[in-house]
Amino acid sequence: MVRFLIRRVALGVFVMFVVTIVVFLIFFVGPGRADVARTLAGRQATPATVALVSHRLLLDRPLTVQYWHFLDGLLHGNLGYSYYHGQPVTTILKQAFPVTLSLALGAAAIWLVVGVLSGVLSAVRSRSIWDRIVTVLALFFYSMPSFVLGLLLLYIFYYQFALHGIHIFPGAGYTYLTADPLKWFEGLVLPWITLALVSAAAYTRLTRGSMLDVMNEDYVRTARSKGLSENRVIYRHALRSALTPVISQFGIDLGVLAGGAVITETVFGMPGLGFTAVHAIQSQDLPVIIGVVIVASAAVVVANILVDTFYAVLDPRVRLH
């Protein structure tokens, strides 16, 4: 297990290394030597600022030197400086991170619970009316772009409700948990559903298929024939095995979760990482985008390690590979 963890963390570090290289290539090499400083300084930057950027980032030095300087900064927690905001990027992201974290954690919980439960229901009552309803709904939500779902929810639960004098869900914005827990929760319900439901539908399909496979395995039949109660068979014996492919897929989908958070935050006007990044494009505030990409990638890598570790605990065979 220790060996597994070491290897897994090493892979995570390597992924982050690749991420920094790709980011460096995109932002420090992509624009062309002459334009790097200008693009990083932002749209309204004065020549003086551009010169300052060039000097600070060692842009007159060879690329390898620039990269090591960039990496060195990252390793010391320095994500750069937003000349547009006149603030260090870390300061901006520190405000945005809890927003995205609240959104992602809650959505991931709903996503897994709804996906797995509906999948199990569908598989256990295979070919029943429940199975049909779940299957059709899963296909529907699986096909649904998350921003369409988000806007649809806003239209009904914010706008139509408001027309009828009901004001539960806000139309936009975010309330910090520390400020008002209830408002925090109310503000997050629709974003959570938006982010969770589309992916949950994919997990319904995955769980259903996996569950149906497992239920046909000999040991499950044996458990049944031994006279164990149906619930015990399903939840003790079948579900545990059926969950392993689901969890392994979940590890892969964490990047999708991050992407979905970008869209959801944009739809609901939540000042999280994704919202910040999208607005940074409009203001050409590239250092902020770099910061968001690095932070989000790191979050995904860390979450991925956690999921894989959990997966390895659940299914010991995984550790061997």
């Binding site: 772009p145 921003f147 409009q282």
Partner: protein
């Protein structure tokens, strides 16, 4: 062979499917190809046929978008400031002149949806094909060559799969001008890994087949084995995967446009339209509803058809590619 073979104990058991009885189907000279069998099955699947019809309809709408524009008399970029906007400058709802209403610029939503279908389908098909081609070639190479090649490609797949794709797409677009080409390339470059993973898995299971060894014994080189002997056996899952990838790609394209990093305005695009509608959906539900519905119908149709195709080609229904 490869380090993957733990112990090459000889005397492979007979693994394949059940043999037909001696002299079965003796009267048929022309072979009944597995494709034909799949086609027969698909023909009996009503949901898939309807979905296929819807897909065909969307393709027709995309092709004949200029005809729709001509019939309504509304150009795709044409702004009707007097008839298409209220005195307050708001869009007008569905009426005799604008069947699906107008957008915030006073343009015909129907015509723009028809033109938007072009972008969705072009990106959906071209970017998906790009993903599938890259993914198939790399997956084949990884699975067939094994060893170092496999290790390297498998690692790259892991990395590409684990990074937040949308953020990198935003990064790429942020330093270059948004364009259709950039969107397609970005999706292709980041999206191939899932295909490669599937193909690699399939190839790994096929590589140990005796007919692959037979091909080597005949003197076939690695490229011929990969593309003549292995590829036909995984074409079915690849086709299913491609069909199911198209709606995913369409949604990604629409998402990019929705975020403002996709196809730039004033090109008619579903994602861009929905982004525009987001600002005024309280006053103009039609501007939000119809492009959303177009997008949803398209993805649902592709997904139903893809599911049907998978069932028709299902390896468990008949051991086509086992």
């Amino acid at each position: 062979m490869s380090p993957g073979d733990s112990v090459a104990i000889e005397d492979a058991q007979i693994t394949s499917g059940t043999p037909p009885p001696e002299g079965a189907a003796a009267s048929i000279i022309e072979g009944r190809s597995p494709w034909r069998l799949a086609y027969e099955r698909l023909r009996r699947d009503r949901a898939s046929l309807i979905a296929l019809g819807v897909v065909a309809l969307i393709i027709l709408v995309a092709i004949f978008a200029p005809v729709i524009a001509a019939l309504t008399g509304h150009g795709v970029y044409e702004q009707f400031r007097s008839t298409g906007l209220t005195p307050d400058g708001l869009p007008v709802g569905p009426n005799g002149q604008f069947l699906l209403g107008t957008d915030d610029q006073g343009r015909d939503v129907l015509v723009r949806i028809a033109y938007g279908a072009r972008i969705s389908l072009i990106v959906g098909v071209v970017a998906t094909l790009l993903e599938v081609v890259i993914g198939t070639v790399l997956g084949l190479a990884a699975g067939y060559f094994g060893k170092v090649v496999d290790t390297v490609i498998a690692r790259i797949i892991d990395i590409v799969l684990s990074i937040p794709f949308l953020l990198f797409a935003i990064s790429l677009v942020s330093i270059s001008k948004p364009s259709l080409t950039i969107v397609i390339v970005v999706i292709g470059v980041f999206g191939w890994a899932a295909v490669a993973r599937v193909v690699r898995g399939q190839v790994l299971s096929l590589r140990e087949k005796e007919y692959i060894e037979a091909a080597r014994a005949l003197g076939a080189g690695p490229w011929r084995i990969m593309f003549i002997d292995i590829l036909p056996n995984i074409v079915a899952p690849i086709i299913v995967y491609t069909t199911l990838l198209i709606p995913v790609t369409i949604v990604i394209e629409a998402s990019l446009s929705f975020l403002g990093v996709g196809v730039p305005p004033p090109t008619a695009d579903w994602g861009t339209m929905i982004a525009g509608a987001q600002q005024i959906y309280q006053q103009a539900w039609w501007y939000l509803l119809f492009p959303s519905a177009a997008l949803l119908i398209t993805t649902v149709a592709f997904n139903i058809f893809g599911d049907g195709l998978r069932d028709a080609l299902d390896p468990r229904a008949e051991q086509l590619y086992k």
